[in-house]
Amino acid sequence: MSELSSLEQVEEQGRARLLAASSLEALAVAATQAYGKRSQLAALTAQLRGLTPDERRSLGQEIQAVRARLEAVAAERKAQLEASQAQRQARSERLDLTEASSLASARSGPLAEPLSPPAPRGHLHLVTQVREELEDIFVSMGFEVAEGPEAEDDWHNFEALNMPPHHPARGMFDTFYLKAGQPESVLLRTHTSPVQIRLMESRRPPIYAVVPGRCYRRDTPDARHIPVFHQVEALVVDEGISMAHLAGTIEAFTKAFFGPGRHARLRPSFFPFTEPSAEFDVTCWVCGGAGCRTCSGSGWVELGGCGMVDPAVFAAVGVDAERYTGFAWGFGIDRLAAARTGLADLRELLYNDVRFLNQF
């Protein structure tokens, strides 16, 4: 019995000490005193050895319970002290942010001051710079720049693009799905093409649009693939648009971006959303067409896919395929940026190392 009553005392004393601690340091000391190695609680534990097994078990359990309660008190006190310390820090460091924006014109309001310390000019991202250059080339050719959401539904990303459920061509895209709505109904767009559908759904031709944006494919990152990447594509829908216009537009873009003397060529290919479909190559940017390792000696490098909009796509968005024809093409901006700069590994784009960013 004496052990039990002294146990109560020990607990009461320990609790009082812990609650009285007014700093984290003091709390640590109080905790050692309350249930540390040299505490009375520890001494009581040591006395257990002299008892009968039954006594040992019941008293031992009591001691453990007391220890657990004291630890809980200590944890609670610690949280209180930390919170008030954070609050004290918040108060002591409190700053009137409007002191930093103090220059004002009496009539037109606050004036921005020169930044201090004065900083050297920063850097736009390589991908941004290439994207803007591509946009500008097409804007100068009379295109608008269209954008759309990165989280998409199955209709815009697949079905309306002539890839109904279970279409084998869906296997060409490894898709990330989101836990939203019906299973596999909401996804991260695998290409910028859903914006084609949104454009054609929202208005009648003529449409001359270029679509840059972020896309997602479930590819394990390697030197040539990153799961989050950027694409640009174009869509033209009008009366009398032909493959000659497609080839001419790509040729014009190639010259504008890569320089005079550079050409593009089309090779037949297959995409569910275009017919006829093609892949397009451009004059190798390393050797200028003479043949080198980059182009495997052919003088050409594959850049992207293109084709005439498939009538099935027009049917999905209610455009009269007898009256209108159109073309579309697309390619990866990151790859183009990598090609232009000689960047060998696309994964560099994932790190945002300033030694990389600040080169451009």
């Binding site: 409190r94 002191e99 930044l115 804007v139 989101l178 939203a180 297959f270």
Partner: protein, 837 residues
Amino acid sequence: MRAPLSWLRDFAPIEGTPEDLARALSFLGLVVEGVEKTGPVLPGIVVARVLSTRRHPSADRIQLVDVDPGDGQAVQVCCGAFNMEVGDLVPLATVGTVMPNGLPIGRRKMRGEWSNGMLCSASELQVGPEGPEPAILVLPPGSAQPGTPVAEVLGWQPDVVFDLDVSPNRPDCFSVMGIARDLAAALGAPFQPPAPAHVVAEGVPRANVSVADDARELCPRLTGTVIEGIPEVRAPAFVARRLVLAGMRPINPVVDVSNYVMLELGQPNHPYDLERLGGAGLVARRGSPGEEVVTLDGAVRRLSAEDCVIADAQGAAVGVGGIMGGRAAEISDSTRTVLLEVACFNPRAISATGKRLGLLSEARTRFERGVDPELAPLAVDRFVELLGPGARRGPTADVRSVPPAATKVRLRASRANLVLGTSLSGPDCARLLRPLGFVPLPQGDDELEVEVPSWRPDCEREVDLIEEVARLYGYDNIARSLPPRPPGQPGLSPYQRDRRKVRDILAGAGASEAWTSSFCSLADLERAGLGTDGALEVENPLDQSQGWLRPSLLPGLLAALRYNRERQAGALCLFEVGNVFARPGPQDDGARPLAAVVEQEHLGLVATGQGADAAYAVQVWQVLAQGLRLPGPQLLQGLLPHEGQPPHEGELPQGGGPTLPAPPGQGQPFGPSQWLSGAWAALHPGRRAVAHLELGAVGVVGELAPEVARRHDIDGRVAVLLLDLSRLLGHPRRAWEALPVSRFPAVDFDLAFVVDEDVPAADVGLSIAAAAGDVLESYALFDVWRDASLGAGRRSLAFHLRLRALDRTLTEADAAGVRQRVVKAVSERHGALLRGG
């Protein structure tokens, strides 16, 4: 699909260098992934005559063989096989030879005896499979003089292999014949399909073949043919050679011929060992629930009613139709009679079954794309022919549950010209289509009625034929022109122009742009001090660290800061413009592209290093607001955690978000999602403010909460600016207005007020401006001073005022009046005390 040139030439006289042919294939849409030139075949391996065989004095498993390699000199080799006799012709790999598997042959001692080369087995030469016993390939007597290269005896020549990536719409090109047909058409060479003899032997029974009524859809055609007299040795040497070049391995005569026919014609087929089947019959039926079959790869496959099962005459499943045969009736070296199944299956059903069973096979690859239903009889004849003269076949039982139907498609030359930009006539189109097997019938000048060959299921519509016309015409021959200029040239939208301006302003302010991943983990969000409510989860992430979509740019930017600091970067200032995602909250009504997702374009900036504190973030905000002419930029602050929520977000107008396709005037409305309060919680409670414009809050500005910085191993302060870009840029702008500039001199004076810490300097400034009236040109806070002498919780704010009138020179009395009004107003409104006043 690997296509050896020698094999392609079986079908057409194809001429040209490998490079020219590769280019021609590419321009047909058959992507050439590689061109392999085999070089000399089996160099260093010659025919030798066995002169004598002797026991090895100290080994039982090898013997000594003397051979004559053609020069009459006896050469001793050690050999582990005992199947040759004196006088036999055998292949000798001479010293210095490198075997097809890469093994170099040298002169070496085996158990004390010299071996000057190696006698070769069929599998070492890749002529046939490894036998059960070691055996040297014994060549037919008299087939060659000793010393002749073995390749010559086998009829093997250097070859070129085109490795092609065949697109899924061209099932016919999953065969050498199909590739040859396209290539011949492009080169203008006559194409000749194989024409094996059709000889039915007397006395060989007809198989009993049927398709269950409910399986007609799954199996449009099923044929069965009994073949007796299977050769015991091996398939012809050219079969083995071509299989190896195509990437397969010789196994035994029946399997080799089966594979050869599949590669050559594109017709998968399945030979069963008739003696291991329950009778000479085959049934195509649906699987029954719980039914199982062991496939050739040894796996137990559980079947369903969606699967087409091939069963024997007694009803036992012997294979998964069109995908893989069963182990029970597998061909072995002792097979003497075969029941050959050549069939056609429904592509969609094959795809579904294959996917469900996780079973890839050459047959599935072809059937799920669509195999020519008319090919079966030719495939059977070719199969028998390749087995050699000893093979005897019975009549073929042929069940067609779906009758053959010719596809006819109308093609207008005028339409082709419209789509392609060409000027082709009807006869031009006909001329281009015919070599591919299309049968065009002219219907007037412009129109053709085109019968589509059975091997081109991809050609169902006019546009499909137009693509064929274009392929054969040559994409390169299509003239190039630019489209007519579109009416009205929209260029960049105001939103897009302003977004570029934002980037330029930030870069001009010294920040570098980052692109961080759109993925994050819940731990990333918690570490950044953000809530996790409303975050969107990815169903199938690459790994758990990328299991969620970012609801804020902050975690990615902090990760980038940490990455750079771990690499000893000094001061850093990074920004990003990108989309963030969340589940819609109760307040998020209004039109969105997707009901289930709120997606917004945000701007985030973080900076560390000397001077990168809350004041810096405020300066960046000011620079942005001024650069974009945003009206009424304000900072709402003073809210500590126990003091409540951030200021209420005001009503905002609708404006152009980053999504274009909404019709004009109905842009994406600003959904008041929860992101502001999340971002608020991540900031230093004493150093944060809500960035506010005339019509409402657009983001937060300040310093990162110290514990968040600590959790990212960042010591020191981190300036943070997080803005909803679509709200910011959707905001109406200050009007363009040229304020008159006075030509008169100014009167300057300073005023220092002691005010409570709680009074924002900006409020004092506004009071100064209001009290001073029109003659105040500008004012600036130039000093903040804190000292015990000012009283607890008080500080001194020193302002510099510049007075100037538009129409006259101000007098001392004017200035004194203004000074008096200002002092009075500030003292009354803010409880301020004029220092030194």
